[in-house]
């Protein structure tokens, strides 16, 4: 068959394009399959935490589908540009539009079959690995996975088939609209002239970014923190696009007007080349920048949360079990505790009990704490809570002396510190900072970071609570530990919020954040693949465009060494722009993310910094690797002049 021969020839001739494309689309198919397989897994549904985990997996699965579709659309447009001259030639040689349609359909079928087969095979192989990883992250051992999930296979194939049908329709419509002459000659682009509207776009981009950064920098740990962050994300997306499309052109135009700077060999080639690139590729550079930012933010928050589970657990239960009651435990309750402890063969130690005021929620206005009382009265202003403990209890619990007069207080606050002359609920205190407080915790598990205030006398009229905490030892599985904690709560007839056990909380966090990390890594992988391909194809298309430019420059006296040098500096500049943007985005996102983490009882700043630095470095290394590989291809294209 002639058509198949033609297609085969075209695939071989454009191997530089089709190879990476098939690789990337297969990997995306594989990731889609992995998510589909996990979301239909039975053993996962039987876990007590399955609702949270599967919800997360489902959201991620849909997101990945969206990414896959966007990727396919982008690459399809690129392939069209590459192949249009070929189709034009066929048309000149007498192929009817019907033939060309057939050719397009065969091409799409090839690509579909290729990516679905490679993708599903890879998916099936790596799904087991991924599932093992998920089990590890969730810290559960009861997960079982069949070799192949037919439902997931079907679902992935159907979605991909749907996508390819859409691509086919898009191509057929394009084919219909073009005449052979257009197909054959690539259109020459005239440099655009920009009016005041363009300048406004650029300025608007900067304003939106500044606004977004202002939002993230001023985020307080209130209820609105998350929605604040999402607003900032939207602003950053729009702002980045505007800035890359318009702002960069404005800056380059400005550089062009500075003659002493512009008319130097390096700057001359770079600035004019960049200008042309930004006119054509501002949007795709912005896309790369946002994809990198998304990878950084997703990995940063999910990994920090997961790595900080230990910290967060300590914030919820300072010992192994903590019980909050209105009065000290009655004789009968103490007997019940002893009974349950005996039944489960548990050894209890290190038990203590103290009285404190219930958490007083409110917010700081300067040095003054506006007390709103219990959680029911919280508003959008609420940022923190305060718990008073008497200095007598403090001495007893820690064994440390606390010499205070009636107007002095010791304050321990893992979130924001308030010291000096402070005013809480009508009382003035001279507050001193404490760096550590072993029994501090978040009794209500609320999003407001608690500050512990040690004073001689608890303020009159404030409701109090009694905290009893102990450690225990039990020879048995995690499950048995959890059973003991649950049994204790049931026998004491206390609510979920009154009794907190370490094993239960840790299990909850693991299943929540484990799923998050899992989704975060796979999403980053999908975004990373997409970014790589976008970069690679950009380099190829620019290579073809620059070929002619560098040829002319060599004719009028640019040496080969100078050509190589200017190619490198130019490509590097264009390359570093998005990644620099992404790192700046992460830098500004970090304070807001930190505030959101505070609400999840995570205060470990050094850990966050470590995570941020290591993922940024990892991304940089991978990015430079991609840069090196794609620049080689670019070089081959540009130097292959004659």
């Amino acid at each position: 068959m002639l058509f198949f021969k033609l297609i085969n020839f075209s695939f071989r001739r454009n191997g530089k394009v089709y190879g990476p494309y098939l690789l990337a689309s297969s990997m995306l198919v594989a990731i889609n399959y992995i998510f589909a397989a996990i979301s239909v897994n039975h053993s996962l549904h039987q876990l007590p935490s399955s609702t949270a985990t599967t919800a997360m997996i489902n959201i991620s699965a849909n997101f990945i589908l969206l990414v896959t579709f966007a990727f396919l659309l982008y690459v399809n447009r690129f392939l069209w540009q590459q192949r249009s001259s070929e189709l034009g030639l066929y048309s000149m040689l007498g192929m009817t539009s019907h033939n060309l349609e057939l050719l397009t359909i065969i091409e799409k079928c090839y690509l579909f079959i290729g990516s679905i087969i490679c993708g599903l095979v890879t998916g099936v192989i790596f799904e087991r690995l991924a599932f093992l990883g998920l089990g590890r992250l969730l810290k559960v051992h009861s997960l079982k996975q069949p070799w192949i999930e037919p439902t997931a296979l079907m679902r992935t194939t159907l979605y991909m088939a749907g996508f390819f049908v859409i691509l086919m329709v898009v191509d057929l419509v394009k084919l219909h609209r073009l005449n052979p002459n257009q197909l054959w000659h690539a259109t020459v682009k005239t440099p655009r002239r920009h009016g005041w509207l363009f300048t406004i776009m650029g300025v608007l981009g900067i304003v939106l970014l500044a606004w977004a950064y202002y939002l993230t920098l001023t985020t307080k740990p209130r209820i609105s923190a998350f929605s604040n962050f999402m607003t900032a994300v939207v602003l950053v997306v729009i702002g980045t696009y505007l800035l890359f499309i318009a702002g960069s052109v404005i800056i380059l135009r400005f550089l062009q007007r500075r003659k002493k700077f512009y008319y130097r060999p390096r700057h001359f080639i770079a600035v004019s080349g960049m200008l042309q690139r930004m006119e054509q590729n501002g949007a795709s550079l912005a896309t790369i920048c946002l994809l990198c930012s998304a990878v950084l933010v997703a990995l940063f928050s999910s990994i920090s949360l997961y790595a900080g589970i230990g910290d967060s657990v300590n914030r919820y239960v300072p010992k192994d079990v903590v019980m909050i009651t209105n009065q000290p435990l009655a004789k009968q309750q103490q007997a019940t505790v002893k009974q349950v402890v005996r039944n489960h063969h548990v050894k209890v130690f290190d038990q203590d009990s103290y009285q404190a005021t219930t958490p007083q929620n409110g917010y700081w206005r300067g040095k003054r704490f506006i007390n709103q009382g219990s959680l029911e009265h919280m508003t959008n202003d609420t940022t923190s809570s305060i718990i008073f403990v008497s200095s007598r209890d403090y001495r007893q619990l820690t064994g440390k002396p606390a010499q205070l007069n009636d107007h002095q207080a010791l304050v321990y606050s893992p979130a924001k510190q308030h010291t000096g002359d402070i005013n809480i609920a009508g009382h003035h205190y001279q507050a001193k900072k404490m760096h550590q407080l072993s029994f501090a915790f978040n009794p209500e598990h609320s999003i407001y970071a608690p500050a512990f205030v040690i004073v001689n006398h608890l303020p009159a009229g404030m409701p109090t609570m009694n905290v009893t905490a102990f450690r225990y030892r039990l020879n048995g599985s995690d499950h048995q530990h959890m059973q003991f904690e649950n049994d204790l709560q049931a026998q004491l007839q206390l609510t979920n919020s009154q009794v907190t056990g370490r094993y239960n909380i840790r299990y909850l966090f693991n299943s929540l954040y484990g799923g998050l990390v899992f989704a975060g890594i796979l999403i980053s992988l999908a975004l990373g693949i997409t970014t790589t391909i976008v970069i690679y194809f950009k380099q190829i298309s620019e290579g073809y465009a620059d070929r002619y430019r560098f040829k002319t420059m060599q004719q009028v006296g640019l040496s080969e060494r100078e050509t190589t040098k200017s190619i490198h500096s130019q490509v590097l500049m264009v390359f570093m722009l998005p990644i620099t943007g992404a790192v700046i985005n992460l830098l500004f996102a970090a304070p807001a993310i930190k505030q959101i983490m505070t609400q999840l009882s995570f205060y470990n700043l050094p850990l966050m910094v470590t995570v941020a630095v290591s993922i940024t470095l990892a991304l940089l290394v991978i990015y430079l690797l991609i840069y090196g590989l794609t620049t080689r291809v670019y070089h081959q294209i540009v130097n292959n002049i004659s």
Binding site: T190, Y263, P265, F268, Q555, V556, E560
Partner: protein
């Protein structure tokens, strides 16, 4: 001393293969300062190879090409690039202007590569702009102006470096006859200002503007015509006749 001197220049492609192709067999000629010389010949006669050797884009495999005392065969690639931008000006059939640069920046390109001061560039551009009548389009882009205007810009780019030798490769090949005539008149004018020009062309009309025409066939200089006191029309007829005999083989 002649400006350009070619002694027994040879160019063989794929010398070590079983089918070596000899583009230039034995080329000898000289060009004096201020001359205007055309080289004519059919496709495949070796015109482009010859031009490339003088342009330092290729090197001869035998013989010597000496421009202004410099043996072109002795230059390394990077030296050749520097030599090109300092001593040679180029005009191409398809103009070869960069679409990413404005016309002004296209003209400045060789000077920028030579790291010249922007103020000097502007001083040099000013008279050129007037002579070539491109003041109005100087800040537009190549894709926004006509072919004739693009070629004027290209001429300005070639002249701004004040080259020893202006090389033109089919400069009117992509232009209609009216525009061609305008461009050729510009060449006459440029030559009057003591600029040496070497032009490769197919067109007898273009060659008739030169003061001397060399005919090349099968890698050798086959014939030479001087315009002398002939009218341009008469000279053009003579050139056409010579081309005819050249094509029909033998005298």
């Amino acid at each position: 001393m002649p400006l350009l001197q070619l002694n027994h220049v040879q160019r063989t492609y794929n010398a070590n293969s079983t089918h070596p192709v000899t583009a230039l067999k034995d080329i000898n000629f000289t060009i004096e300062n201020g001359e205007y010389v055309a080289i004519m010949g059919e496709s495949g006669a070796g015109k482009s190879t010859l031009l490339n050797i003088i342009a330092t884009l290729e090197q001869a495999t035998g013989g010597q090409a000496i421009l202004n005392g410099q043996d072109l065969g002795a230059l390394t690639k990077d030296e050749a690039a520097r030599y090109r931008r300092e001593h040679l000006g180029f005009i191409f059939q398809h103009f070869n202007l960069l679409d990413s640069l404005s016309n002004r920046d296209n003209i400045y390109l060789p000077l920028v590569l030579a790291k010249m001061d922007p103020a000097v560039m502007e001083r040099r551009l000013h008279p050129l702009m007037k002579r070539l009548r491109i003041e109005k389009i100087i800040d537009r882009f190549p894709s926004e102006v006509s072919g004739g205007q693009q070629q004027r810009v290209a001429i300005a780019r070639a002249l701004i470096a004040q080259p020893d030798l202006l090389l033109a490769d089919e400069p009117t090949g992509a232009l209609d006859s009216n525009t061609s005539a305008e461009i050729l008149e510009l060449f006459d004018d440029v030559n009057k200002n003591r600029q040496t020009i070497l032009m490769v062309t197919h067109s007898a009309a273009a060659a008739s503007h030169a003061k001397r025409t060399l005919f090349i066939k099968d890698g050798r200089i086959y014939h030479e015509l001087f315009r002398g006191d002939l009218s341009m029309k008469k000279y053009q007829e003579e050139i056409s006749d010579t081309m005819m005999t050249l094509t029909n083989g033998g005298e």
